[in-house]
């Protein structure tokens, strides 16, 4: 008993929902250090920060944004498969507008392009939201429609070509630097911060969790679940569109075929890694950001160590299964029951707290 009370501050840390994702991230980063000794080094060159850590944040920024939107969708018990298509469509629309304008370098052109892309995303998200909230279609299926058709639409916009643009203000979004940091990092940090404030400083987060936890009970206590759910899909589409702008701006080109390909799966993975249950209910934005960074670090690691990049898929498959098993109440119950049985034979009485550690 005395050991339990003595380690309680440690336990408070280990039982935090962010603990395991953070451990995984740190382990991955340290693994990199073993292969590239100057992995943590940061250089200031020409007023810009360079280094592997900055790269991870920079290339992970779109994924963080998409995962952020996905977190809120999953918190309501839904899922949004259409984010990849939205990424492709928004990039294609923005690049098309800029490439067709007479003055691609002007700020006004770029702002109109952003307006068009985000406005379209608003409509796409609203369609998803209405299908799920109003028509009662299962989220997987409702968003599947846009996932299938969206790639075609993106191809149609770009006419099957890769549209390249040369526009300095547009390049800024995904490839520019501001205050020595890549602008994409700052932008995604800003969106994450705003979302955290919006969901945690107001009742919005609580309402979302309640809708995801038990839709019927939420309706009975007077929460307008329908509007909230629809709103969440709009938010997810907007995040995806912003990510799409970032991706296309970074390479100064829109590729209807490959932009945002499989990003929906990575985003779901990031959310699950971050400890948000796919069944809806409690969500953790901090966990999601860690999850997205884990995935990006993993991709970076795979490239720097020289493993064939394709094998990451096998690794991801195992991660998904393990994390889902740990989240599954049945699995935990079985595991706990077995643990309790063996512990009883080894005459120990501190079974209960250890059990909970296994579960967390």
């Amino acid at each position: 008993m005395s050991t339990a009370t003595a380690t309680s501050p440690v336990r408070a840390v280990t039982r935090s929902r962010l603990f395991w994702p953070a451990v995984v991230l740190v382990v991955l980063l340290l693994a990199n250090l073993a292969f590239t000794p100057d992995f943590f080094a940061l250089h200031l060159r020409g007023g810009h920060l360079y280094g592997s850590l900055i790269d991870i944040l920079h290339f992970g920024a779109p994924l963080i944004l998409v995962s952020l939107g996905m977190t809120l969708v999953i918190a309501t018990g839904g899922i949004d498969l259409s984010v990849g298509s939205t990424v492709a469509i928004s990039g294609a629309l923005a690049c098309l507008h800029i490439s067709e304008s007479t003055d691609p370098g002007s700020l006004a052109t770029v702002l109109t392009a952003l307006g068009i892309a985000l406005g379209t995303a608003l409509v796409l998200g609203a369609v998803n939201g209405l299908l799920v909230a109003k028509a009662g279609v299962q989220p997987i299926i409702a968003t599947l429609i846009l996932m299938v058709a969206g790639r075609g639409v993106a191809q149609l916009i770009t006419d099957g070509q890769i549209i390249t643009v040369t526009s300095d203000p547009y390049k800024m979004i995904g490839g520019g630097y501001w205050l020595t940091m890549p602008f994409a990092i700052l932008l995604s940090a800003l969106v994450v911060l705003a979302t955290v404030l919006l969901t945690r400083s107001t009742a919005l987060g609580l309402l979302l969790e309640s809708v995801g936890g038990n839709p019927v009970a939420s309706r009975l206590v007077g929460i307008r679940a329908m509007r909230l759910v629809a709103l969440v899909y709009v938010f997810s589409a907007l995040c995806a569109a912003l990510a799409g702008l970032m991706v296309s701006s970074n390479v100064s080109a829109a590729d209807g075929n490959n932009a945002g390909l499989w990003i929906e799966l990575d985003a779901i993975l990031a959310v699950v890694l971050g400890g948000t249950s796919l069944n809806g209910g409690r969500f953790s934005i901090g966990g999601t950001v860690l999850g997205a960074l884990i995935i990006q670090t993993l991709s970076t690691t795979v490239y720097t160590i020289g493993i064939p990049p394709e094998t990451t898929l096998v690794f991801k498959a195992f991660v998904v299964i393990v994390v889902c098993l740990i989240q599954s109440p049945v699995f935990r119950a079985k595991f706990a029951a077995r643990g309790a049985r063996t512990r009883r034979t080894t005459r120990s009485h501190t079974a209960a707290p250890t059990n909970r550690e296994v579960g967390a």
Binding site: V148, G152, G160, E310, V314, K316
Partner: protein, 323 residues
Amino acid sequence: MNAHALLTRLRGQIPLLVTAVLLVSMFSVGSVQYEGFFSGQVVLNLLIDNAFLLVVAVGMTFVVLTGGIDLSVGAVVALSTMVSAWLVEQHGWPPLLVIPLVLLMGTAGGWLMGWIIHVFEIQPFIVTLAGMFLARGLCYTISVESISITDPQYTAMAQTRIPLGSLFVSPSALIALLVVAVAFVVLHYTRLGRNVYALGGSEQSALLMGLPVQRTKTTVYAISGFCSALGGVLLTFYMLSGYGLHAVGLELDAIAAVVIGGTLLTGGSGYLLGTLLGVLVLGLIQTVISFQGTLSSWWTRIVIGALLFVFIVLQRLITARRR
């Protein structure tokens, strides 16, 4: 009373009727618009070109009828082509050994996913998503490149044409039709088939009635795994190569075919022959677009998406009215 019963019966079949009407009208419009469209060979080509999709969609029908979903089918198809090509070409195994092995692998994989879904009560969506990652990843660990097949038995299967009067079909198309026939009998005339419908109608009730819920669920995913592997074998005949990027997005086509064929995504209601019609509609869209010539191929995806939208909304309207 009788008229009323007949009406409710008919209402459940509205999606199927709509699909049938759609198929006939698309074919008629195509025949009027394009020269050479109205021929038996165009219909048979639909079967030849979509044999693998048909087989995969049959497996998907079983899963969707129980209220589940299987996202791994496309990846399992790719893995089957890859393993076949790898064993036959690089290890010189005889095709007669490789094909049963591939089918066994697909079945076992599907069974395992079904087992995890049932025992640990994890959503089918996420388990089969992991299966998809795993199968695609395994393809790449075998080879990142496409492996082409030169084995005489495979090329013979690819080139054989079975004449039907002045027309012809491929062996793959016949195999696919055989799968449809067997699945039709299993689904509508056996105990397993009734269990599948019962499970989709209400898992709780099925359990209370003492039906073997666990066995049915794992069997359904095993069937889907088997059909995916068989679809992979047929695709190997068609493409004569194994490649990790084969059949990307096939799971979406299969789900679309099932939905357009009138199977409810919530499970419990649908027909296997509807899936056959659904596959034919998808194939016909492609044929019309290729006959049109000026339309780019990505219109296929947009049209499929739009059709999905219409049918899903139709399903909602019907189920809402039934309540």
